[in-house]
Symmetry: C2
Amino acid sequence: MSVAIRRLAVIGVGLIGGSLALALRRAGAVEEVIGCGRRAATLERARELGIIDTTMTIAEAAAAADVVVVCVPLGAMGGVFEAMAGAVGPETVVTDAGSAKAAVIADAEAAFGAVPPWFVPGHPIAGTERSGPEAAFPELYQGRRVILTPAAVTDPAAVARVRAMWEAAGAGVVTMDAAHHDDVLAATSHLPHVLAYALVDALSRWDDRQEIFEFAAGGFRDFTRIASSDPAMWRDICMANRGPLSAALRRYLSELEEVIQRLEAADAAGLEEIFHRARHERERFLELLEGRRAS
Amino acid sequence: MSVAIRRLAVIGVGLIGGSLALALRRAGAVEEVIGCGRRAATLERARELGIIDTTMTIAEAAAAADVVVVCVPLGAMGGVFEAMAGAVGPETVVTDAGSAKAAVIADAEAAFGAVPPWFVPGHPIAGTERSGPEAAFPELYQGRRVILTPAAVTDPAAVARVRAMWEAAGAGVVTMDAAHHDDVLAATSHLPHVLAYALVDALSRWDDRQEIFEFAAGGFRDFTRIASSDPAMWRDICMANRGPLSAALRRYLSELEEVIQRLEAADAAGLEEIFHRARHERERFLELLEGRRAS
């Protein structure tokens, strides 16, 4: 199948959508990019930065584009789908970049009456702490993973089209069940974010917080880096993936209770066993990460 | 007071002790460095690297040196004190670099019969994931903090001598109560390490661990970096600071339970409040860290 997209519509021209447009342009995989968004100033900035060529309303873009990519915060996803309901062109494929898939599929079902065959739920696993069109850069997806979670009703040709788009942007694409995606992402991304936010918040509520932060060092800085992420975005992600995240948190709580138990029982060997296993597993993870970059 | 140390004894010539010796040499603050350690090969390597000039037994070094710095893992501290008991020279000052102070003071009391006036408990807040003499470098303490926790019986002149030594190595020195040190370090260092180990271990025990690590990204790598630290060293630290660490873990558990509660109640605003406060506090911490480096 041909990768080339005649008209791409990007709804939400920030880091995720903007970087996709820039990557596809650079790859010569798109002819024209339509931008949609709530703020005229952001769209104007995206045009100045060469991310988009033109702007339209969401309904106009859904009618005009071959591929529509919805890159708005999870809390805004339902509203975007409603704005395009009834207007999507007969050949148009719609996909999204939301970090929780079951919630987005439920939003689509609510807005369109049923999960449409031309809708391909997707999630590029990429990002930085920055946001907005200024943060966009064409290399963002290089060597990264994109997970697509098609439903039984999803048109295989639509999936192939979205896959080709992300591959043209430099990403590796895998497909899996939406519920499975949500479990995996709860564990590897949503859980660590919540743990980091909770740690900094907990420390800030202790009596001697000034001193606590005064004596924190580099390890603490790395550990809490993700607690500098956008609070509103992460509120949306946590709410959208509430079930799997809550289950992951409860499993983590049990692990911590086991650690406390070993600590309070002065079970040095038992504690070391956990630390050893963790270090070993992290080394395996780093090898995986290296292998993925090299490939 | 003069900074110059005629004979410095470093017991444990790894990253911490080795870097101190190199920094003092570079500053011209030491004439001769005596190395002590269990492994002849490590001492030989330290001599080749210019960290030490000569080697002695612990008892010989304690008799011969002006300043003795004990840089061994917390679990080995008591044995070192016992090896020098009765041999410490009349003008000799002994200090250590252990990450938990009450436990080291208890070890000193047990070995020497009472906490000696010439013993200055200390903790340089510095380190890397590497260890051994090869890992040592003279800039390790540049702009870092050293906490000294003298007791009521500690000789102020001994404290001044140890303070001058660390300042000559480039560090800023503060003094505080040992129990307070242990609370602060439990919060900022020992707790994050345990949380990171526990996360990687918990994930590795889930059914789909291969996939979980497969889809983890950069945020996860940063968050778990400290889970690559030496398991035996961290077993010792956790055991030595068991009380404060266990209290910190229990406070963190309460915070996590609050997060789960808000999540399960779909309290989006309540969750965002925690995230906002955490991001704000982390920004304050980064400003502190920057200010410290610039000063």
